[in-house]
């Protein structure tokens, strides 16, 4: 698998969440994603960018355009240096939220992606990776 290109977008304000959405949309179009697939990955990116801002007190999103020979894809990695997630099972449950939201951010982003990985260390931060293939 080769990374065709990558870019890092900072997430420090609610305007940055809009910027992440726009960049991901642009990249999804360039990767040849259908409108539904574009919408899914942009929505997932919006959820994870907001999590990084709200729970992680800001962070960054890394966008990578992938090619594994037969197909093209997008990988997005959201990283923050916030308090981390003490119970990842619980954080992935629909409707569970510590921030007054609907509790759909992580679980919803997982459903909207083909690949999902969550790493978190209490006190150190959280990293969420999603990928979607064309």
């Amino acid at each position: 698998m080769t990374v065709l290109r990558d870019e890092v977008v900072p997430i420090q304000s609610s305007e940055d969440i809009v910027m992440v959405r726009q960049k991901v949309r642009e990249w999804a179009i360039q990767s040849g994603f259908s409108l539904v697939d574009q919408t899914k990955i942009v929505t997932a990116a919006s959820e994870l960018a907001r999590n990084a801002l709200q729970y992680g007190k800001g962070g960054e999103a890394r966008l990578e355009a992938l090619n594994d020979g037969a197909r093209r894809g997008l990988r997005l990695t959201f990283e923050d240096r916030g308090p981390g997630i003490p119970d990842m099972q619980l954080a992935l449950r629909d409707g569970y939220s510590t921030g007054g939201g609907l509790g759909l951010g992580l679980s919803g982003a997982k459903r909207l992606s083909n690949e999902f990985a969550l790493e978190s260390e209490p006190g150190r931060g959280t990293r969420v990776m999603i990928a979607r293939w064309k």
Partner: protein, 133 residues
């Protein structure tokens, strides 16, 4: 400050969301709409989201709050013009917009509000003019 315009059409308020809203703008819209419902004594709120290419859980929650606030102020909210790709994504995300009425386009949304207002103004036995569930 950046704001989303709210138009008055007879008994209704019409909002057309045409920008990619950041979270603060969405919160401002929620406050502005609630204030305008009271000021104009509107009976219906029509929100046109045909220009929105995503609805995430934050925007979804805001739409649900608007509908709930309008309801306690005796106004019916109808969300119109959702793009098919947005509808597919919303359901997969797990967002079902409980309590929010939807219609395919502005015309049908307006009909829905008109019939709700007509139903609500009929006299009824409990005197509130509203049907009980």
């Amino acid at each position: 400050m950046e704001r989303i315009p709210i138009l008055k059409m007879g008994d209704c308020l019409l909002v057309t969301i045409q920008v990619d809203m950041h979270d603060r703008l969405a919160m401002t819209l929620q406050d502005d709409l609630t204030t305008r419902v009271v000021e104009t004594r509107a009976r219906g709120v029509l929100i046109d989201i045909s220009a929105l290419d995503i609805v995430d859980s934050f925007i979804g929650r805001m739409l649900g709050y608007i509908a709930a606030m309008a309801r306690v102020l005796d106004a019916k909210t109808v969300l119109v013009g959702m793009q098919p790709s947005v509808a597919i994504t919303l359901v997969e995300l797990g967002l079902e917009l409980p309590g929010v009425n939807t219609a395919l386009n502005v015309e049908r949304g307006m009909e829905l509000i008109k019939s709700a207002i007509a139903d609500g103004s009929k006299p009824s036995r409990n005197g509130s003019g509203k049907r009980r569930a």
